[in-house]
């Protein structure tokens, strides 16, 4: 019943969006094919030079070769490992710090300007420093991902704790909760729900951290493949790498949605 107004029957039925989902999907695919066709036509006719814009068929061939030879899975595995590690370390740190700052007015008042400054800083620029500290392996990329994820989750947790309903809190205290029990049964669950609400953004951030880190200096990963290809002006391989990254990001996002629905089943839709 809650979903009743999703298909608003009073909306004008002329727009594409209001058609059945199947029809919409067909048009979406047609749009994609059309754009690819346009790209193909423009590069084949020489309107857009192949040297700079590549060729869709060559890009596709590269992708197929990667998959068939299995090369891509090694690099993709590295990139995804970096993403997952970056996300978990960043989110855990942010959860702890967010809880601590939200519950300790002194800590939050003292560090407020620095948190703001760190958040305002374009953190991608830390990548060279991390490369220096952690070498060209996965940990410099993880570190970059952590700095990106941390702030997204931190602010969400902080806000989440501040907005815990005072009534729920008073009720838990009346039911006999000690300070520790309040943390475990009230603050932590509501903070986690805020972590999840920022999950899509923060996983995306971890992915960006991994790829950018690889691009700036690495020995493996999809970002490394792109960097290598760019070094020899192999535009088709660059595009193939970008396509792989996009597909991975979409899959990652779908996985997040599944996990989210599973863990937050108590949340009103």
């Amino acid at each position: 019943m809650l979903k009743a107004n999703a298909d608003n029957p009073t909306a004008p039925s002329l727009s594409l969006a209001s058609r059945s989902p199947g029809t919409l999907r067909v048009f979406q695919v047609l749009l994609f094919v059309g754009l690819l066709g346009l790209w193909y036509a423009l590069t084949e006719t020489g309107v857009m030079p192949k040297f700079f814009f590549g060729e869709p068929i060559a890009v596709f061939r590269t992708m197929v070769e990667w998959v068939v030879s299995g090369d891509i899975f090694y690099h993709l595995g590295i990139t995804l490992t970096e993403t997952v590690l970056g996300f978990f370390i960043g989110a855990s740190l942010a959860l702890v710090c967010g809880l601590w700052f939200a519950l300790s007015p002194t800590a939050s008042a003292l560090s407020d300007p620095y948190i703001k400054a760190l958040n305002a800083m374009p953190r991608v620029i830390l990548a060279p420093i991390f490369a220096l500290w952690f070498g060209l392996g996965i940990w410099s990329k993880v570190a970059l991902g952590v700095t990106l994820v941390f702030f997204v989750v931190f602010f969400n947790v902080y806000q989440g704790i501040k907005e815990v309903s005072p009534v729920v809190l008073a009720n838990a205290r009346m039911l006999g909760a000690s300070r520790k029990q309040l943390l475990r049964t009230v603050y932590l669950p509501s903070a986690t729900s805020w972590v999840f609400s920022s999950l899509h953004t923060s996983v995306g951030m971890a992915f960006v951290g991994a790829v950018v880190g690889e691009y700036l200096g690495s020995a493996a990963g999809v970002g490394y493949l792109i960097l290598q290809a760019e070094g020899v002006f192999d535009v088709n391989t660059v595009f193939a790498g970008i396509a792989i990254l996009t597909i991975s990001a979409l899959v990652l996002d779908a996985v997040v949605t599944v996990i989210e629905n599973r863990l937050l089943k108590w949340r009103p839709v």
Binding site: S165, V168, A170, L175, T185, P189, W266
Partner: protein, 286 residues
């Protein structure tokens, strides 16, 4: 404490020497809107309130909206320290949270991330009750409030009345000696409300606890209580009158409202209350 069970039903109060809850000259002041600057004199919500609730007695407190009824309840719960005066629970001064009391809030108080059953078990878990017993007692109480089969529902999947039932079970499973109710049914529709009132009375009659029931609804107050206390309009709220409700029990809250005795009591109390309600209304307009 052990005396309660053998008590004759006719006169529930005045059996035990020490009342369950005693307010002694309780005054509560709040810093008034500090941000607005101008007048920084504190706002006195309740002033010099003295009130006893006997063991096993059902007392309702009525008063105009915004008169500080909830403040009084928060003081009894130990959630709020009075500015002056004190609260005694069975003769001993209250310090910190009132561990003998269960509190049912006006607003939503369930943990949204816990199922109905988990919401009922949480208080027992806080108290370190063994796991098996926790389940058993919680299931038993969910049954008593008529929610068998809804154990695994989350609060947002329950209706307003059902959520109130869960709150009721959540509080009563801990078997508190004192029950504090802050307009618990005010958000419910009229029919559900009558059902819940009757249910509360049945549960109360089965195991008489001392009840402090806050409401702005005079009919609700009369139909449920042993005694009705009328508060003056704020600021500086204090009790101005109290009435013994000697209607026979067990009562049906919807039927008892049609008796002559009820109508007489209602008129009598309303005469006292009307003036305060008008005062409260005038103040809220300013």
């Amino acid at each position: 404490m052990g005396v309660v069970k053998m008590k004759p039903i006719i006169s529930a109060r005045a059996v035990n020497a020490a009342p369950a809850v005693t307010f002694k000259n309780v005054t509560c002041c709040f810093a008034s809107n500090a941000g607005k600057g101008r007048s920084s004199e504190p706002y006195t919500a309740v002033k010099d309130v003295s009130l006893d609730i006997a063991d096993g007695e059902f007392v309702s407190v009525v008063g105009p909206t915004g008169c500080g009824k909830s403040t009084l309840l928060n003081v009894a719960a130990g959630l709020l320290r009075p500015t002056s005066g004190k609260v005694e629970i069975s003769g001993t001064p209250l310090q910190g949270i009132n561990k003998d009391a269960g509190y049912m809030f006006q607003a939503e108080s369930l943990m949204a991330w816990r199922s109905a059953l988990q919401n009922v078990t949480v208080g027992l878990e806080y108290r370190g009750v063994p796991k098996g017993e926790v389940q058993e007692r919680a299931l038993d109480w969910l049954k008593k409030v008529g929610l068998s089969g809804f154990e695994d529902r989350y609060p947002h999947q329950l209706s307003g009345g059902m959520r109130k039932r869960v709150s009721l079970a959540q509080m009563l499973v801990l078997d508190p000696k004192i029950v504090l109710l802050d307009e618990p049914f005010s958000a419910l529709d009229a029919q559900t409300r009558v059902l819940m009132e009757n249910e509360l009375l049945t549960l109360w009659a089965a195991n008489r606890k001392s009840v402090l029931f806050i409401t702005h609804d005079l009919e609700e107050a009369i139909s449920m209580s042993d005694r009705v206390v009328v508060l003056s309009a704020g600021p500086g709220t204090r009790p101005i009158a109290e009435f013994n409700i000697d209607l026979p029990r067990p009562r049906d809250v919807s039927e008892i409202r049609h008796t002559k005795q009820f109508a007489d009591l209602h008129r009598e109390i309303w005469d006292v209350m009307k003036e305060e309600v008008l005062k409260g209304y005038a103040q809220s307009k300013r």
